[in-house]
Amino acid sequence: MDLIWDGLVKAVEILINLDPEVLEVCWLTLKVSGIATLISVMIGVPLGCILALSRFPGRNFLVSLTNLGMGLPPVVVGLWVSIFLWRSGPFGSLGIIYTPAAMIIAQAVIASPIVISFTLAAIQQINPRLRLQLLALGANRAQLFWGLIKEARLGLLAAVMAGFGGVVSEVGASMMVGGNIKGMTRVLTTATVMEVSKGNFDVAIALSVILLLLAYGVTALLTTLQQWRSSYE
């Protein structure tokens, strides 16, 4: 119990003192996971819509693959992204291994299947007659797409939250492609693991509390957005 208490006290201390090193780690965590989520939304929402609205051979296979992708072990993603980004790898010339860019790529790979699956479910839940109604009103492809997105916005915000939750909490991929370099690629999860390995459990607990608060803050913001519209209907 002392350990937990010490950790909580340390967390409060860090927050009150606005430790610049921790602030930097927090900012990088938000930046990397935020951009990765944004990329996964840009990829995942259109793909989820296409999977939900079209019928083509191999669709079921792709849906199963996406659902499988939701459980992608971050360490596996980290390994494969590393292989591609190592100097000897196909994209080695980019020179982005052990940079935040590599972490963003790995996290986007992790979050995309989550966003695709949630989008697919959200769009499929829409009453099929709405699609006909939009077409009957004269919607072209893009207008139909946008109309359905607006209708599924609650589910899509859930997709964003799930995607962000999935990447802000992962450690394996960030460690492998980022390397946990101080001041460059250290994020809250990798810093926590490092502090545990050093035996600094109070600092590790403090960092984990900050990570939880950060994740909660972002999720609370998205939840407010999600529930704001539905509350006055």
Partner: protein, 224 residues
């Protein structure tokens, strides 16, 4: 009068079952017809095909004298409007709903406002314009669905049992109002209904559909 819809050798087969089998069927400009028949006769499917929202399994459908293809399908749809039996209103205000089709057509704001005002007035729902569409009663929602269609100033309007969910008084009032609007604007009307009284009030001719085939027609007094 020229044919705005012309169907030839049409078959619609879904799940191995023949839903429609129409060797020939046409709708003339400014004509107003009803399609009657038992449940499962294929009435709504025929309406969807005429509204260019469903492709037939075989046969041809000409819209305004031309067969539609992928390039012209959108233009064809934008010359018509469809009111479903159960209004599927968009998640927004009444105004958003009535404006949707006009926005899709990229009409300028002034034209949109003018048309929306006129449509809301005609359907007597101006006072509902700021209400959430999905919080409306059945009758109100049906009026919004009709406004959503009429605001588009379509050349053809398809009405799929538009008065089915309304109580008797509302139904009678709304029917009269819609009839006047459709006649005054000379909109070609195709209505699916189960009620002969609705067909008599709203249209000039009844087509009887059974098991996907037209089994008879009946002309009605246009002024009844």
């Amino acid at each position: 009068m020229n044919k705005v819809i012309e169907i030839k050798d049409l078959k619609l087969i879904l799940g191995g079952q023949t839903i429609l089998n129409l060797p020939a069927f046409s709708v003339l400009r400014e004509e107003s017809i009803s399609i009657m028949g038992p449940n499962g006769a294929g009435k709504s499917s025929l309406l969807l095909i005429m509204a260019a929202l469903q492709e037939p399994t075989q046969g041809t459908v000409s819209y305004f004298g031309r067969k539609a293809n992928n390039q012209t399908l959108l233009d064809v749809r934008r010359r018509m409007a469809l009111v479903f039996q159960k209004p599927m209103l968009l998640d927004g205000t009444v105004l958003d709903n009535v404006e949707a089709g006009l926005r899709f057509r990229h009409l300028d704001r002034k034209t949109r406002e003018m048309r929306i005002h006129a449509a809301l007035d005609k359907l007597r729902i101006s006072h509902l314009s700021r209400r959430r569409a999905r919080s409306l009663s059945g009758g109100e929602a049906q009026r919004v669905a009709l406004a959503q269609a009429l605001v588009l100033e379509p050349e053809i309007i398809y009405l799929d049992e538009p008065f089915a969910n309304l109580d008797k008084d509302t139904r009678q009032d709304l029917m009269e109002e819609i009839r006047v609007v459709l006649r005054s604007q000379r909109i070609t009307t195709v209505m699916v209904t189960h009620h002969r009284s609705e067909a008599e009030t709203m249209t000039d001719k009844i087509y009887y559909l059974e098991d996907g085939e037209i089994i008879g027609t009946e002309s009605l007094n246009a002024e009844s």
